[in-house]
Amino acid sequence: MHPVILLIAQRIALGLLLLLASSALIFAGTQILPGDVAQAILGQSATPEALENLRRDLGLNDPALTRYFNWLFGAIQGDLGTALTNGKDIAESMGYRLKNTLFLAACAAIVSVPLAIFLGLLAVRYHGRWPDKAISGVTLASISVPEFLIGYIVVYFIAVKLGMFSPLAMVNDSMSFWDKLNAVALPVLVLTLVVLAHMMRMTRAAILNVMQSAYIETAELKGLSSFKIIYRHAFPNAIAPIVNVVMLNLAYLVVGVVVIEVVFVYPGMGQYLVDHVSKRDVPVVQACGLIFAAVYIGMNMIADIVSILANPRLRHPK
C-alpha cells in the first residue's frame, strides 16, 4: 500500500478518536453542572414526587455511563434527542440552523480565503514597501477592533447612512438565493474583516520563509519575474502552513460566529446555542457542542491531510 494512504488513514482514525474523547468531555461537562434536567423543566417550586417521576421518565436515574452511551449511539444514528423547552426534535430544528450557519460561513470563506491569499502574495511581492505596510496595517486594525463593534459600525455606515443592504440578516427558506446573498452581505463583510488579517499574515510569513530558500535564488537567476517566482516556486512550498491557518479560520467561521449572529439577528447555530444556554436546555447544548467539535476536528483533519498530500517526499517516496 502507498505510505501516504496509510498516513491519511492514521490521521482519520486519530480524528475519530479525538471526536469520541470530546463527546465524553461534553457529556461529562453537562453532568457536573448543578441541578439536573428535571429540575430545569419543572422549576424551583416542583414537588419531590414530581421530580422523581420525571427523572424516571427521562431515564435520569440510570448510571451516567449508560446514559452517555445511549446519547452517543443516538447521536451516531442522527438522533440528538428532543429539546426540553419546546419538545421539538433537536436534529430537525438544528439542521435548519446549521444549514444557515454553513451558508454564511461558506459565503465568508469564498470572499475571504482568496482575498487573504492574494493580499499575502501582494505583500510578499512588495515586501517592506508601502503596499506591504498598507495591507498589514489595515488588516491588523480590522482584527484589533472587537467584532461586535465592527458589526455595529458596518450597520451604522452602510445600512443606516448609505441605505445599502439590510441591517438585519433574516433569512428563510422562501427567499431566493439572490435575496439570501443580499441579506448576508453585511455579516459576510464583518466576518471577512475579522478572519482576513490572520490568514493574510500567515500566508505572507509562510511565503517569506520560503523566499529565503536557495531555489528562489535559482528562479531569480532564471530571469523569472517576481510574481512568477512567488506563485510558481514559493507558493507550492508554503501550502501546508497556509492550509492550516485557512482551516483554523474556516472552523472559526462555523463555531465562532455567535456574536455576529446575535448582532445581525441571523438564524444560525450561534443564536440557537445562546437561546438554549439561557434556558438551560441541556440536550441542545450537548448537541451543539458535539457538532462544533466535529466541525473543528474535521477542518483540522482536512488541513493535515492536505499538508501530507502537499509534501512531495511523502507523495513520491524514493
Partner: protein
C-alpha cells in the same frame, strides 16, 4: 578576438550590521578587471570572503542579500549589463548567462519535477519549444552520464542522489544554450569519489557545447583540471592572473605559492605503545526504528597521545561511530573499552569522569557555540562543571587555554559572531581541552575551513597533542588531512572497516578496490590529472 565578458574596475559593496556597532558600508570587491573570450574557462579562486562568488554573480548583475554593485562596468556581448535595468537583466539571466549553485540539493525546488525546472528558463525566454527543450535536456542527461536519461526528468529532486542532482543542475544551466555559465563551487559538497565523476562530466559538457565558463572554487587542484586561465583573489582584490599552467607551476605571488604548496605538513607516525586507550570491540549499531546496521562489527584501537583517522564518504558510518563511542547511540552488539574500563552503552549511565575524559569538536563551529555567550563563558563552563573552578582561578585557566590556542587574553570578552571561522574552531578546541580529556573526537573539524586556515588548525592540533598527550579520533573524508595528522587509519565503507592499520601501511600498495578508488579520486595539483585518472579507469573497466 572579441571578448564575451569584460569586467572593468568592478566594485561591490554591502552594508554590515556588526553587534554593538553602527551599521556601515564595506567594500567586498575593490576594483577587479578581467576579460573572458567565448568558449574559454576562467577559474576564480580564493578563500571564503575573497569575493569570488560575488564577482561570479556580477556577470548576471546579481547581488546576494544586501550586496550591491557600486562601481565599474560589466560588458557582456558588447553591452554594459549594469545599465540594462530590471527588464534587461531578466532577459539576460537564464538565457545568455546561467548559474550552477554549490548545493544542487537546495537549489532545486522540492515541489517540482526536475524536467519542469530544467526547461523552465529555456521556455521562459522563448529559446526553444517545450518538446525541443525537453529533447535537449534528455540529450544533456545522456552526456552527463545520468541514469535512464529518457525518464530521469520525471523524478523529484529528493528521489535522486547528490551527485546526480549536481549533474542535473549542470543540465539546467546548459539547456537554454547560454554563452556563459557560472559554476559556483559545483563539486565542493560532494564526496571525493563522486566529485571526480561530476567534474569530468562538467568538463566534457563545457567542451562539447563550446560554452564559456567562470569556475569558482577554493580548491586549486580542482580548478586546474577545468580552466584555461586562473585568477587568484584575496580580500576582494586580484592577487595573480595567468594561464592555468603558469599559476600551478610558476606562481609569482607569495599568496599563490602558499595556496599551491598547502597541505605539506610532515607528520611522522608513532608506533602503538602500551595498552590501547580506546578499544572498539565488535561494535554493531543501528538507528532506532530501522532494521539496517549502520555499523557492522567494528574493531579498532587507539593509543594514548596518538591519532586514529576514520576515513570514508558520507554515509559510510564514520560519524555514527563517534555517536556510539560518545554514548549517543547504543550499540546492539560489542563493547567499547576506554582507559582500562568498559563504557556503558547508555549516556545516562556514564560517570562524570567518563564524560570529562572524552570530549568532542564539531564540523560547524558556529552552531556548536551559544551565540549569546562570550568566549570566556564558553571556555569557562567545562572548568566550572568538571573542576569547580571559579573567580580568579577560572580566569587564569581560561587565559592559559586562550594562549594555548594562540588567540590570547584579548579574545575573552568577544562573542562568536566577532570571530572568523578558524578562530571559532580554535575556541571549540579550547573548550574541549578545558576538560583535560584523554581523547578528543574531531568530527570533520577542518572541512568547513579554507585550506590555509585548516592547515593552521591541524598544526595546532598536532602541537597540542605533543603538549597534552591527548589522543584524537579524527573523522574526515579528506585524504590530505589524514596524511597530515594520522598515526593509524581505518577506511570505512558502508558501515564496515575495509582497511585498517598504521598510516604507512594503509596508504601503501597493494590496495583493496575501495581504498584505491578513494585515493586515486583525490584531485592533484597537476595539469591533466583528471584525464589521466578517468582514462586509466576506463581502461581498467574495459579490461574487466
Amino acid at each position: 578576438m572579441v571578448n564575451l565578458l569584460s569586467v572593468k574596475d568592478l566594485k561591490i559593496g554591502a552594508t554590515v550590521y556588526p553587534p554593538g556597532e553602527k551599521p556601515h558600508d564595506i567594500e567586498i570587491v575593490k576594483g577587479v578587471s578581467f576579460d573572458l573570450e567565448p568558449g574559454m574557462v576562467l577559474g576564480l579562486i580564493g578563500e571564503s570572503g575573497a569575493g569570488k562568488s560575488t564577482i561570479g554573480l556580477s556577470a548576471m548583475a546579481y547581488g546576494r542579500g544586501g550586496v550591491k554593485i557600486t562601481g565599474g562596468e560589466v560588458w557582456l556581448n558588447d553591452r554594459d549589463i549594469l545599465k540594462g535595468g530590471v527588464r534587461g537583466l531578466r532577459a539576460l539571466r537564464g538565457a545568455e548567462v546561467t548559474y550552477v549553485a554549490q548545493s544542487a540539493a537546495a537549489a532545486f525546488n522540492p515541489a517540482k519535477k526536475l524536467m519542469e525546472q530544467i526547461v523552465e528558463a529555456t521556455l521562459e525566454h522563448g529559446r526553444a519549444s517545450r518538446s525541443e527543450a525537453e529533447a535537449r535536456a534528455v540529450e544533456l542527461f545522456r552526456k552527463l552520464g545520468l541514469p535512464n536519461p529518457e525518464t530521469f526528468g520525471e523524478r523529484y529532486p529528493h528521489q535522486v542522489s547528490g551527485g546526480q542532482l549536481q549533474r542535473a543542475m549542470t543540465a539546467l544551466a546548459l539547456c537554454p544554450q547560454p554563452d556563459l555559465v557560472i559554476f559556483d563551487e559545483p563539486t565542493t559538497a560532494l564526496d571525493v569519489t563522486t566529485q571526480i565523476d561530476v567534474l569530468s562530466a562538467i568538463k566534457e559538457a563545457i567542451r562539447d557545447t563550446g560554452v564559456a565558463a567562470l569556475y569558482i572554487t577554493h580548491d586549486l587542484a580542482v580548478v586546474a583540471q577545468v580552466s584555461d586561465h586562473i585568477m587568484v583573489l584575496r580580500h576582494g582584490e586580484m592577487v595573480e592572473y595567468g594561464t592555468t599552467d603558469h599559476i600551478i607551476n610558476t606562481p609569482q605571488e607569495e599568496y599563490t605559492q602558499a595556496l599551491v604548496s598547502v597541505r605539506s605538513i610532515e607528520h611522522e607516525e608513532k608506533a602503538p605503545a602500551g595498552d590501547p586507550l580506546l578499544k572498539v570491540d565488535g561494535v554493531t549499531a543501528r538507528y532506532r526504528g530501522t532494521n539496517f546496521d549502520v555499523l557492522k562489527n567494528i574493531n579498532v584501537e587507539l593509543y594514548q597521545g596518538q591519532t586514529l583517522a576514520l576515513v570514508g564518504e558520507s554515509g559510510s558510518g564514520k560519524s555514527t561511530m563517534a555517536r556510539a563511542i560518545t554514548g549517543l547511540l547504543e550499540p546492539t552488539q560489542g563493547s567499547i573499552h576506554f582507559a582500562g574500563r568498559t563504557l556503558s552503552h547508555y549516556l545516562a549511565n556514564r560517570s562524570k569522569e567518563d564524560l570529562r575524559e572524552l570530549q568532542m569538536i564539531y564540523q560547524m563551529a558556529d552552531v556548536a557555540m551559544n551565540p549569546r555567550q562570550t568566549v570566556g563563558t564558553i571556555i569557562g563552563r567545562p572548568l566550572e562543571f568538571y573542576f569547580g573552578l571559579t573567580g580568579a582561578e577560572k580566569r587564569k585557566r581560561i587565559i592559559e587555554l586562550l594562549d594555548e590556542i594562540e588567540l590570547g587574553e584579548g579574545f575573552m570578552d568577544r562573542y562568536p559572531a566577532e570571530l572568523s571561522g578558524g578562530q571559532k574552531q580554535r575556541v571549540c578546541i579550547a573548550r574541549a581541552l578545558a576538560a583535560k580529556p584523554k581523547l578528543i573526537i574531531c568530527d570533520e573539524v577542518t572541512s568547513a575551513l579554507d585550506p590555509l586556515v585548516a592547515d593552521g588548525i591541524l598544526k595546532l592540533l598536532l602541537n597540542l597533542q605533543k603538549i597534552e598527550n591527548v589522543a584524537y579520533l579524527f573523522i574526515t573524508h579528506d585524504i590530505a588531512t589524514v596524511r597530515a595528522i594520522a598515526d593509524s587509519i581505518a577506511v570505512m565503507y558502508q558501515g564496515n572497516v575495509v582497511r585498517y592499520g598504521q598510516k604507512s601501511q594503509v596508504l601503501s600498495p597493494p590496495f583493496d578496490d575501495y581504498t584505491d578508488l578513494l585515493l586515486s579520486s583525490v584531485p592533484e595539483m597537476e595539469l591533466g590529472w583528471l584525464e589521466r585518472v578517468v582514462s586509466s579507469r576506463k581502461m581498467v573497466s574495459a579490461g574487466n
